[in-house]
């Protein structure tokens, strides 16, 4: 085929459609964007598999969301709507800084309403609201390797994943239960994804783990320091590793309610103080819950 001037132009415009030259203020160039997108596609194709990527220096310290940030920057376009939460809070210093950075460099708009967001970057939580299939959840991951606690040798770790040899993980759960009577592991609970790879669900609490199972939305995990991306695609099995006779349990404090919205069925965190007080960890959800309860009165 000979390339006429016309077909070159149309190819050019198709390329621009696929990968628009959005200004990124030197944060992430086209090459980096393509590399991260490829890593994301690989991660989606092999659910739970940790895909290495060439993590870039970001204007946040590695381990402070640089992995999640790179994913968001590689995906976000000017028509996107971005929600960023840190520990469930849209107004945390980190969340505010990250959100501002993302919107300034990509031209996307910001929101705190989960329903409006197209991309949700989070540390520590999945929003309480049910997310939809057209939304993407991006989790900032400090420690992507679920077997880190039981094996340090990198080659052995790679072998264990390749052969789905997770007996050391099971032994650590066995020992946890023997020593403590229950499985005490809290955040980063190990889960088997799509019946094949074990992932660390770091940094979300156990409370959020069942919500990954067969979720309608795509979840991407980004670890900047460890240079890994992994994914739970929509409608994928996510099973917490536990013994058949030891049910997986989420955090709960009997009788505890949110001090602000009176909710009993959201993930609550204790606020430090003389008497025990609990509040919703998802601040935006709590705010809307309060409003709707006030409206009912």
């Amino acid at each position: 085929m000979t390339l006429t001037h016309d077909s070159t132009t149309s190819q050019q415009s198709r390329l621009e459609q696929l990968c628009p030259p959005t200004p990124r203020a030197g944060l992430i160039d086209d090459f980096a964007q393509r590399e991260i997108r490829r890593a994301i596609l690989t991660a989606i194709a092999i659910p739970g598999y940790q895909v290495p990527f060439g993590s870039r220096e970001m204007p946040v310290a590695r381990g402070w969301g640089s992995g999640g940030l790179q994913i968001t920057l590689a995906l976000a376009q000017s028509h996107d709507v971005i929600k960023v939460i840190d520990q469930g809070d849209d107004e945390g210093v980190n969340a505010v800084n990250l959100r501002r950075l993302i919107c300034e460099t990509t031209g996307a708009t910001e929101t705190s309403e989960p329903a409006e967001a197209t991309l949700i970057q989070s540390r520590h939580r999945i929003p309480e609201d049910e997310l939809r299939q057209d939304q993407i959840l991006i989790l900032q991951v400090p420690v992507p390797e679920p077997l880190r606690g039981v094996e340090r040798d990198m080659r052995e770790l790679a072998r264990m994943h390749a052969e789905a040899d997770y007996s050391k993980m099971w032994v650590s759960l066995y020992e946890d239960k023997v020593r403590n009577g229950v499985i005490t592991r809290t955040t980063g609970y190990p889960c088997l994804v799509n019946g094949r790879y074990v992932i660390a669900t770091t940094p979300i609490p156990r409370w959020d783990v069942p919500r990954l199972h067969q979720a309608p939305f795509l979840t991407l995990f980004g670890a900047g320091r460890e240079k890994r991306i992994y994914a739970v695609p929509p409608r994928t099995d996510v099973e917490p590793l536990t013994f058949t006779d030891v049910p997986f349990e989420v955090e709960s404090t009997p009788g505890a309610r949110c001090h602000r919205c009176r909710s009993e069925d959201s993930f609550l965190v204790e606020i430090p103080g003389p008497q025990s007080q609990w509040i919703c960890s998802d601040t935006d959800w709590c705010r809307r819950e309060r409003l709707s309860k006030e409206a009912q009165i």
């Binding site: 390749a162 052969e163 040899d165 997770y166 007996s167 050391k168 099971w170 032994v171 066995y174 020992e175 239960k177 023997v178 020593r179 013994f243 058949t244 006779d245 030891v246």
Partner: protein, 287 residues
């Protein structure tokens, strides 16, 4: 090689055929430059060590074969080649699985070999640190093999681990103690429990009691002998100690500088060794 008359035996579950393991460059002359006649397993020309060569034997269910020889004669090399801890340079290691398949352990991928190590073939090492995770409890070490075989019920795992540790005479109150805190004899008992976790038809023992106090060693040997009879295991017992071979095995091979110099029934061989090297070994053991 001299040989006692062969006996009618049950069909083999482990068959080692022309097994060889060489460290260093191999060429056509290295074999002639090593062996008992030359008095070394190391070629003076190339520095190549022919650690084992031309090793052949079969082991049936319920039978224990001994491998004896002095230090450096190639016993552990043979055992490690069977277990797949290192790759054989030559020959085949046939294993009849419980399903009845016959596989050459020396010619399958590492992952397949590791799968066989879960419930077809277990190894008890001289150094417990090789067979156990010393930072894990006795029960946890057994749980490792059970979970590898797909056990997922905590109560059942616990029950099975307790049963096995009981059978290998580890006091139950020590089940939840870290193995590093255990004495040498106790570690070997935990290693036995772990090796037996999934009822493997084949168990290899490499100097299972070497380094233990005589009285402790005697107890562990008694236990191994009882277990072998009780469980109908096909066993290979490697030792430089004739009393161990005598106690545990019915047949044995004698290795010298990487080659088999004699094979036969253990009691006959002890009474009437044919090869001069075996004669020396037996004489040394009797004094």
């Amino acid at each position: 090689m001299t040989s006692h008359s062969p006996m009618e035996r049950a069909p083999w579950v482990l068959k080692v055929e022309n097994l060889g393991k060489v460290f260093g460059p191999m060429d056509s002359d290295v074999l002639a430059e090593t062996g008992p006649e030359i008095g070394t397993s190391k070629s003076s020309r190339t520095g190549t060590v022919v650690a084992a060569w031309d090793v052949n034997f079969e082991v049936a269910a319920g039978e224990a074969l001994g491998v004896i020889g002095e230090s450096g004669s190639g016993k552990s090399t043979v055992m490690r080649a069977i277990a797949g801890d290192h790759e054989a340079s030559h020959g085949a290691v046939w294993l009849r699985t419980r399903k009845g398949d016959v596989v050459n352990v020396a010619a399958i991928p590492d992952s397949a070999r590791r799968a066989l190590r879960v419930d077809e073939l277990a190894v008890v090492y001289q150094d417990a640190a090789e067979g156990l995770d010393l930072g894990v409890t006795a029960g946890g070490n057994v749980a490792d093999r059970l979970t590898a075989a797909g056990w997922r019920n905590f109560a059942e795992i616990r029950h099975r681990a307790a049963h096995l540790l009981g059978r290998t005479e580890v006091p139950l109150e020590r089940m939840d103690d870290i193995v590093r805190q255990f004495s040498g004899g106790m570690r070997q008992r935990v290693q036995l429990a772990k090796a037996l976790a999934n009822n493997p038809p084949i168990v290899l023992f490499d100097e299972p009691t070497t380094g233990l106090d005589a009285s402790v060693a005697a107890g562990v040997l008694d236990l191994i002998r009882d277990l072998l009879t009780e469980l109908g295991i096909a066993a290979v017992v490697v030792s430089h100690d004739f009393s161990v071979i005598e106690m545990l095995t019915t047949r044995c091979i004698v290795m010298h500088h990487g080659r088999v110099v004699e094979e036969g029934l253990t009691d006959q061989l002890l009474e009437d060794p044919l090869h001069p090297y075996s004669q020396r070994l037996v004489a040394a053991a009797r004094t």
